[in-house]
Symmetry: C2
Subunit: 431 residues, 2 copies
Amino acid sequence: MKEIKHVVIIGAGFGGLQAVKKLAKDKFVRITLIDRSNHHLFQPLLYQVASAVLSPADIAIPIRSLMHKKKNVTVLMDTVTGIDKDSKEIILGDKRISYDYLILAAGAKTGYFGHNDWMKYTLGLKTLFDALRIRNRILKSFEKAENHPEMAKDLMRYIIIGGGPTGVELSGSLAELSHSIINDDFRNINTRKSDIILIEGGADLIPSFDRSLSVYAKKKLEKRNVRVMLNSKVIKIEDNKVFLKTQEGEKILTANIIIWAAGVEAVYLNNTFGLPVDRQNRLIVNSFCSFRDHPEIFAIGDSINFKDKDGKILPGVSSVAMQQGRYAATAIRELIHGKELKPFRYKDKGSMATVGRKDAVADIFGIKFTGFIGWIMWLGLHLFYQVGFKNKVSILLTWMWSYITFGASARLIQETPTKEELESMLYSLKK
Amino acid sequence: MKEIKHVVIIGAGFGGLQAVKKLAKDKFVRITLIDRSNHHLFQPLLYQVASAVLSPADIAIPIRSLMHKKKNVTVLMDTVTGIDKDSKEIILGDKRISYDYLILAAGAKTGYFGHNDWMKYTLGLKTLFDALRIRNRILKSFEKAENHPEMAKDLMRYIIIGGGPTGVELSGSLAELSHSIINDDFRNINTRKSDIILIEGGADLIPSFDRSLSVYAKKKLEKRNVRVMLNSKVIKIEDNKVFLKTQEGEKILTANIIIWAAGVEAVYLNNTFGLPVDRQNRLIVNSFCSFRDHPEIFAIGDSINFKDKDGKILPGVSSVAMQQGRYAATAIRELIHGKELKPFRYKDKGSMATVGRKDAVADIFGIKFTGFIGWIMWLGLHLFYQVGFKNKVSILLTWMWSYITFGASARLIQETPTKEELESMLYSLKK
């Protein structure tokens, strides 16, 4: 009788979940899935939480509830502190878990290209916590402006740094929030006068897309009153200030809120494993998403540096992570059953981004879509990939509802803790 | 031509909103509604957020979106720091707003009967923040138990102090969470072995209800494995420890989480107004919900001490607040239009509380309902009173869905901020 092999998967993102799904079917496998948080996050829609369209529960689903029927899967909410590659053990604080195979899929975090001091003055957008912080800050800026209309102009100026999909989608969504949805809610200010500035260092927005789509996105954002600044490199960030190097020389912009959507890097832990990493902390893997000296360790998704056959590093997008997750699962099953591995090949099916309500750009198998048709494709594909069925229904209803009513349910400003509550929180943290 | 009068309303709870609704129809009135938070909270369902059945957006609705069609209403999200009764001005930090009439409706907060040191060891349940804290702590206790099953017994012991409606509903709801809904999600622990203890100082649960309903509630909670301890007075609370005086002598109970649902008191600010207050900081009003020397100031809801004709203080429930809100609005309109005021009379329509899924007790106009019929009445009345239409649909769908699937969408553990994030939060707080 064949021995049951233990596969440990670190990270329940798009990659990790695909790997579990495929591996759990093998009866010679048992799986431990470890994540720091208790939920899978649908990151492509995070900007909609930040712009108060969706609620956290719409884009996050508890990992346990996805796994509760898979009896060979154990979920642990815990923080990995290290790997002992020789004894094949995962270290979780004072606890160790041994593995036969390991899949590293811990993802990426906001990266500042070495300027970690900029973190203090900006808001990132990689976690639910980040999204809620942006939402709170934006909504509070309108509240403060309503109380002090003489300061409205300064309070309602926002800078988004980074013209990739996140920056484009977030600025489009914030423009809609301020320019249409909530303006009737206020008496003393005109939220349509919000000043949203999108800054991109290169010559094009969403540079990974076809140039015609980049141009379309820019035109549509500008129509929605977003100021798009191309060829503008950030050289310094201070409190409410961004210093730029542009083709016309240096410029200083001020804003109430500065959002950093310009870069990510792999989780810090990666460089403690004794495995090769690049400058962005990404694990450098071979063509099997693995390591020469450790063929039992796979690494996938945003946290790796995988070069395709043209020598280009694959981008940190969900479709890459999902394909690699399925690949790693297949590879492990082949290793267990003594078959030979084929290297990983990425099938690029295209990419897309929204630029507003009913408006998106999509590049699917080389065919370009814009406007409402692009948006319908974007909607369908995102709903299709959304994990829990309830979430699909809930998101669809929320969207339909907010279409009809410009709905308000997500425009909650979450209370910030009082001094007493903070003391009590600190007290229970210490325990 | 008649002069337009300015009515300032402090607090957008059940009382404040009813007052606005009635007053806004009068074209000789303009209204400023002030609240510390940006949302109206449906407090009767707060326990369902705490027990991971509903999400925050299901029971909170932005105040602005409720008011955006009422053009004579200005909403301010701000904190009142005082009242200048002589110049008829509300003080908001360095800003003053003059009023012709004032309605104080700032509500209540968790009260510890003078034992404020107990706050550190317990969790209250009056705000969304409170509810999310309870939810996070409960869900994390299961997570920790799954990682350390040898400690599961201690980790899964919870004490709820206070046998009023909040304590009864919360303990029933937590029993359902742990005894049925999520047990399949775990591999190493049996969440059905959770130990939920409900402590009441008096001889009956929900003492304001008819005794037959109290007995029914106790029986049903015990059937769901809640340990109900009556005649047990809390004499001291320490870290994870509750000291009780019972009929069999003193007892010490330990628990991972201690929830305080035993009392409320009016907001602290009340005793700075120079108006009469009782020991629980409640404003002592006359039979017009007003003050002899200040007939232009009304006070309503949980934050007042109003004696009915039998000399009994009206309870802090939504129906009292709503009737007083409508009364105060009518009274102000009568004062403006030179009519004579009738004193406030409370019409008691009954009360109800859930003891589990499909199970509630209700006492409506003296008729008693229990079980499924009681629950249907409870459901209907709560949905009926829920303010925003979207919320009604959303709550109904969420409930139906969680009925069919024992759904998971509310079982999110919200991330706690990292050290860096806390630093950045502190930084923006200081500004």
